[in-house]
Amino acid sequence: MLSTTSDNHYLAPTVVESVKILVVGSFGVGKTTLIGSVSEIEPLSTEESITQASEGIDAVEATPEKTTTTVAMDFGRITLTDEIALYLFGTPGQRRFWDLWSGLAEGAAGALVLVDARRLEDSFEVLDQLETRTSLPFMVAINQFPGAPNYEPDQIRTALDLDDETPIVVCNAKNRNACVRALAALVRHALETH
C-alpha cells in the first residue's frame, strides 16, 4: 500500500489532535527554511488571494537571492506523538496581510518571530501586529545569517522594545536541532503564560 508518494500523504490514523505554531517574519528572513528544517514533509505552499500584492514594496537589498515574492502560506508538520500533530505555518506578519493570518492566529499555541539582525527594523511592524491584535504568546528567534552583526540578546531586546519576559534565542534556521530548541522554548513560554 505504501509507496514513496503516499508515505506522508496522511497522518497516522491515531492522530486526533493538531496544534499549530505560527512562524512569522518579514520576507526573506528564513521562515520556509526553518519550517523545512523540522517538518516531516516537504514544506507545502498554499496561496490565498488577498487584495494587496506586495510587489514593489519589499526591500530585497539584503536578500538578493530572493527575487520573487508571492503571498503564500508555507507550512509543514511534525507528528509529535501517536495522537498529536504539530503544524507550522509561515506567514508574513505585516499589517497588509492581516486578513491572511488573522484566522491562523486564532487558536495557535504561539508565534515564533524570526528576525534578521541585519534588518531589525523590518520586524517592528510584525511585532506590533502580534502585540496589538493578538494575545498569542510569542518569542523572537534571531536567524543567524553570515555577515550579520552579533548583537547580544539584551541589545536585541532594547532595539525591538521587547518585554523582559519575551524569550530571545539565536537560531540558525537551517539547523534542525536549533529550530526544535526554539520551538520548545516557545511552548515553554506559552505554558508559563497559559
Binding site: 486526533v16 496544534v19 498554499t46 511552548v187
Partner: protein
Amino acid sequence: MPDAPGDDYVDHPIRSYVRTGGRARPTHRLTPATLLIGHASPSATSVGRQEREVLSHCLGVISLAEMAVHLGQPVSVLAVIASDMIDAGLIGVRPDSDTTAGPSRETLQKVLHALNHL
C-alpha cells in the same frame, strides 16, 4: 465534445465562487490545521465530481491545508466545500484539531515533552 465541428465551447477555469455555490463562508469553523477524514468512498455513486475529488484525498487523516494543496485550491474555498461535506456526513473532523480556544495546558505539556525528545 469540445472538438465537435461547429462547437465553439471553450473550457474556462471554474471560478472559486462557482465551486462553492457563491458562498464565501463555511458553516463549520474549519482552519488550515483542522484534521479531516473521509466517511465515504470516493467511488460512491451518490457523490458529485467535486466531492469525489475531496474524498479521494481523505482516505486517511489529513489537514485541510494539505488537502487544499493536493487539490490545488485555496484553503478558504476548500473550507466551504468541506463544510458542506461534513453536513452531508461524507467527511468527519477530528474534534481536538486546531480548536478556537487553543491547546490545553495538558496538550502543551505533551508537545513540549515531545519536542525535548526529538
